[in-house]
Amino acid sequence: MRMKFLAALGLTVAMGSALMVFATPPAGSGSITGKVTYTGTPMKMKPIDMSKEPSCAKQHSTPITTENVTTGPGNTLKWVVVYISAGDEGNTTPSQGVRYDQKGCEYLPHILPMEVGQQLQIFNDDQTSHNIHPLAKVNQEWNKSQPPGSPPIDTKWDKPEFISVKCNIHPWMHGYFVVLKTSHYAVTGDDGAFDIKGLPPGKYTVTAWQEQYGTKTQEVTVGAGAATANFVFTATPY
């Protein structure tokens, strides 16, 4: 490890690409794809009234809604994090960071997965102050003011946790930092589909986490191609 690192330093021209190699997870041609759906009746998402913050309200032509249960056609669920919860030990921290934005009094993205120790940069793109308040329980909670034009907050998390994030000034703002031990994860899109790429063949425990409904877990065996895993959550209307 140390020798490799020194070698990379020596190759000053190729340094950028050398670091990229370190960040890349162990090569694997396998993948896990699937869809996340629900049965039952999910709660209705409510439109958000931003009239108390005109600088944000004017950025949305139609009111945005809460996102804690975001559904799509065919009973699909958006914003579900699907990740390898066992069978994927020994990852190194990626050198590339992740970015979190406060824009239009909304957290972008609503759900931000990252790895333990990975650099996290938080930006305020609005013309209003936000206070960013991750309500960590396993990690240490903190709470910082970020007025317009402040530099990004540069931070990281030491332990895996689903961390609820809120702004106390704009109480409708809500999101999650999903801190994982693995580099193999995906977030479901509008169609509820996910694709975890770059997996070496083997047996894995795969977990799907939805902020309102918790986790579902299944065992998946990955060969050279694409393995399939679908998750079904039981939705409740409250």
């Binding site: 240490q140 909670e141 903190w142 709470n143 910082k144 003011s145 907050i153 106390n168 000034i169 109480p171």
Partner: protein, 302 residues
């Protein structure tokens, strides 16, 4: 559960008797040794160091059982038998999240911070001043409180905030502080006049989801984390962890912070102070030229 309930009742009923009879007879016991009244702390022992006094968790345990258990509970989680009638709720020591710190947000407070909190009490809450306990006893309690969370064994306390000497109290300083109050949107919670009636005030909750009010500057209440100008400086720079009050350490320069302190004092209309006197005479002459604080002034007081 029933056993624990019984134990708590017993504790409060006979705390005086117990402590009179068995003052130090069990003082040598391990902090984790079974205790009919207390749950098991998460670490075996802790010490504290306050101005050369070393506090010992084993000693603090007995004091906790006598003086703290009623509110902070047999398991240190703030759910003692009195907790249901108390607002704000007693501190949950198992989370190791504290409001009054000299250290940055997200870090553990120093032993001195905890010692000062016990000594001072929190004026706007049910937590009294524990000055009647001698310094050694208060140091022992600090050590014991730290056994409720494994964080104290794994992490160091944060580096205390450096507070430069206070700048002179001038009308320029107060006016600049007023601009900051507008620009940093303190009024969104604390209200344009410090009345705790800002647009976000009604929606605030603490980190456990309990409703919480912003500080009302106008009532004459003292600040819960100390009442000097230095304390006020420290409060908004470090933030009050576990509450909606964020840290401003990354966004306010040291001299600007003193300006904000001087302005905040002028909001304390029920507490006569130097800044208020200066401000009132200024306002008598120039009040009509001041842009009001709040959403209407479009981000630019003065």
């Amino acid at each position: 559960m029933t056993l624990k309930k019984f134990a708590v009742t017993f504790a409060l009923g006979s705390a005086v008797l117990l402590s009179a009879g068995a003052t130090r007879s069990t003082a040598q016991s391990h902090v984790n040794s079974p205790d009919p009244l207390l749950g098991t702390p998460s670490v075996a022992t802790e010490t504290s160091n306050i101005n050369g006094i070393t506090g010992h968790a084993e000693e603090g345990k007995h004091l906790y059982r006598r003086f703290c258990i009623g509110c902070h509970g047999p398991d240190g989680n703030g759910q003692g038998m009195n907790a249901q009638w108390i607002d704000p709720q007693p501190r949950d020591f198992t989370e190791a999240t504290f409001k009054c710190r000299s250290t940055p947000t997200g870090t553990l407070p120093t032993d001195d911070d905890l010692y000062n909190a016990i000594t001072r009490g929190f004026v706007t809450t049910n937590m009294p001043s524990w000055r009647p306990l001698n310094p050694q006893q208060r140091a022992d309690l600090v050590a014991f409180i730290k056994t409720w969370s494994p964080r104290w064994a794994k992490e160091k306390s944060g580096t205390p905030l450096n507070i430069p000497p206070e700048t002179p109290i001038t009308i320029e300083s107060i006016l600049h502080g007023r601009e900051l109050f507008q620009k940093l949107e303190c009024w969104k919670c604390h209200g344009p006049a410090g009345n705790a009636d800002g647009p976000s005030a009604a929606t605030l909750t603490d980190s456990k989801g309990n409703p919480i009010k912003p500080f009302n500057f106008t009532t004459g209440d003292r600040f819960m984390c100390g009442d000097t100008n230095r304390d006020l400086y420290r409060i908004f720079m470090t933030g009050l962890d576990g509450s909606p009050m964020p840290s401003f350490a990354d966004v306010i320069q040291p001299n600007d912070a003193w300006d904000l302190v001087h302005f905040l004092r002028t909001l304390q209309v029920a507490l006569p102070n130097q800044e208020l006197t200066l401000w009132q005479s200024y306002k008598a002459a120039h009040g009509k030229d001041l842009k009001p604080i709040g959403p209407d002034s479009a981000g630019g007081a003065q």
